[in-house]
């Protein structure tokens, strides 16, 4: 077990003939991910790295039974690509593209909900179930199979923490980068529920950042519904209000979305918040020892 993806996931790569699509399709395949197809309108019938390319997602799904898609198309076309995958019946769509307009995502949301499509991203590094499926742009070598579930709004910060976990011999069940945009697909609460129900996940790391109140909501949810140990880290404690810290979602607006509020909410829910990323493995060990005592 794991969440969302495993060795049975059949992946189609949308935008496989572009620079990023081609590069990462090859990496994912080399990792052992079951990459069954790629799409690129007008390039159907060709192959990339031995992966068959189709003109449409619908054709790719019909021919290969693909049930997950990853999107590498430029931001102006990302919303359309998400919808194409959704209408083709793909269950899980991961959108890597960065810079997608917010209103595009607002328009996409009710449609994918109606089609029962799960979305991760946009503007995210994707996800990985170590030793089974890498779906995204994460550096595969830092991950190790294990029982820590991790979710994060940021890419490199995730790698930083995963690397520390791996060095401390704490492997991961599934690591999900949910993306840094204000309007995105699956979020903390959806994933907390999945991790809670996953027998392979024993403890959870939640890496948050400033902006919005998703961390506060997650804290409330944890207090009510999560029995597994959770440890957190919040980036952006020194960020000034009104400035967008790289991620469109990382902005403190009108006094809300501050790191202070989020830390308070987690502490109230019994979730320790690391002062710096290097504290996370230690905090996890403490919480896990408490839980098994």
């Amino acid at each position: 077990m794991s969440i969302l993806v495993n060795k049975d996931t059949k992946l189609v790569v949308q935008g496989i003939t572009g620079r990023d699509g081609q590069f990462h399709a090859g990496r994912m395949k080399a990792y052992g991910t079951n990459v069954v197809a790629g799409t690129s309108p007008g390039k159907g019938g060709t192959t990339v790295d031995g992966i068959p390319v189709f003109d449409t997602v619908e054709e790719a799904v019909q021919a290969t039974g693909a049930n997950a898609s990853i999107i590498f198309v430029p931001a102006p076309f990302a919303a359309d690509a998400i919808l194409e995958a959704s209408y083709a019946g793909v269950d899980l769509v991961i959108c890597i593209s960065e810079g997608v307009p917010i209103l595009d995502m607002i328009r996409v949301t009710p449609i994918i909900k109606r089609n029962d499509t799960k979305l991760i991203g946009p503007n995210c590094p994707g996800l990985i179930t170590p030793d089974e499926a890498l779906i995204g742009i994460s550096p595969a070598m830092i991950f190790k199979k294990g029982n820590i579930g991790l979710m994060s709004r940021s890419g490199t910060l995730t790698y930083e923490v995963v690397n520390m976990l791996t060095q401390n011999d704490m492997g991961q069940s599934t690591v999900v980068g949910i993306g840094g945009d204000p309007v995105a697909g699956l979020y903390y609460i959806d994933l907390l529920e999945m991790y809670e129900n996953d027998p392979e996940t024993e403890a959870i790391v939640l890496i948050g950042e400033i902006g919005g109140d998703a961390e506060e909501q997650a804290a409330e949810y944890i207090a009510k519904h999560v029995t597994k140990p959770v440890v957190s880290f919040i980036a952006g404690q020194t960020a000034p209000p009104g400035k967008r810290m790289g991620h469109a979602g990382a902005i403190i607006s009108a006094g809300s979305g501050t790191a202070e509020d989020k830390i308070k909410a987690f502490n109230k829910a019994g979730v320790p918040v690391a002062k710096e990323p290097s504290e996370i493995p230690g905090l996890l060990k403490e919480k896990m020892a408490e839980a098994s005592a």
Partner: protein, 377 residues
Amino acid sequence: MNIHEYQAREIFSKYGIPVPSSVLCHSVEEVKDAMASIDHLVVVKAQVLVGGRGKAGGVKLAKTKDEAVKAAEQILGMDIKGFTVEKVLVADAADIEKEYYVGLISDRNSKSVTLMVSAEGGVEIEEVAKTNPELIYKFNIDPLTGLLDFQARNIAMKLFKDVKLARKAADIFQKLYQIYLDTDSTLAEINPLVLTPDNEVLAIDGKMNFDDNALYRQPELLAIREVDEDEQKEIDAKEKGLSYIKLDGNIGCMVNGAGLAMATMDMIKLYGGNPANFLDIGGSSNPQKVVDAMNILLSDKNVEAMMINIFGGITRCDDVARGLITALDIIKPKIPIVVRLSGTNAAEGLAILKETGLPTVTTMSEAAQKAIELSKK
């Protein structure tokens, strides 16, 4: 991206939202000219890209030409929260029976555009939201249907008992929503929306913010965009594939990834230092990018030490190290630098950097402490 009040009023007008007539003036002379044909009460308003103009004395009523000129003399050149007033709007002052608030925002939680209205207009809505949240009525607009006639009317009825007035307000809500969609807004506010004694409903002040990610399809907005010096730096950085925000401290940071860049700033603060900036160079070892990033950092004269924090993922640390050496050769910075490399091929990267004599470390905490120490020398 933000725009001035006068620009928001122009957009409102174009879509048929009633606004009092006004003249934009860049000098006291222009105010004199504008007042030549006006013989009623006006309001002279500073046009700056920041809130709180009224409290700062940037908005004044004037009954006569002389008063308007006097007000303009006081307001033009005034400093409001670091912004110098270079323009004033001379607007007809409406008779106000009652003030309301109308706003649209993109709401992350409902993943929709939310319409907010309140009978508490003319004040800071954030304050109302904190002290009396029940006085704000919120409605999430279904993106598939838009704001339907009956929905707009029912919401307007929460503000106006008289259905004729409610219809006028409902029409304004729907027009504002259309503007919001057409311009890729992230915020569109009319505050206040006013009712006049002769039963007109008017937009007296407007505020709009736009989605930077959508500017590629908003040529009209790009054409009226105004940026200050710091913002220009941020825009220049973006064109080079860098994300830069200037801050007040003295330790320059160069990091790959937004989250890690924020965590780096936090770490510097945690150990008693002050970050000079947020700078995300993205995932690339391209020496040109490092050169561009260093130039931006060094253009900030407050920077006394630099902390380079790279987590090697797909971009390997040895490539990053080679890129750094090339960049250092070109720029030859005079301030102390500490480099932290971790992740893929970190050991190889650190070995390469050893030749340069730069202090190198493997953890973020060490890097932050070292950078702070070096900045004090």
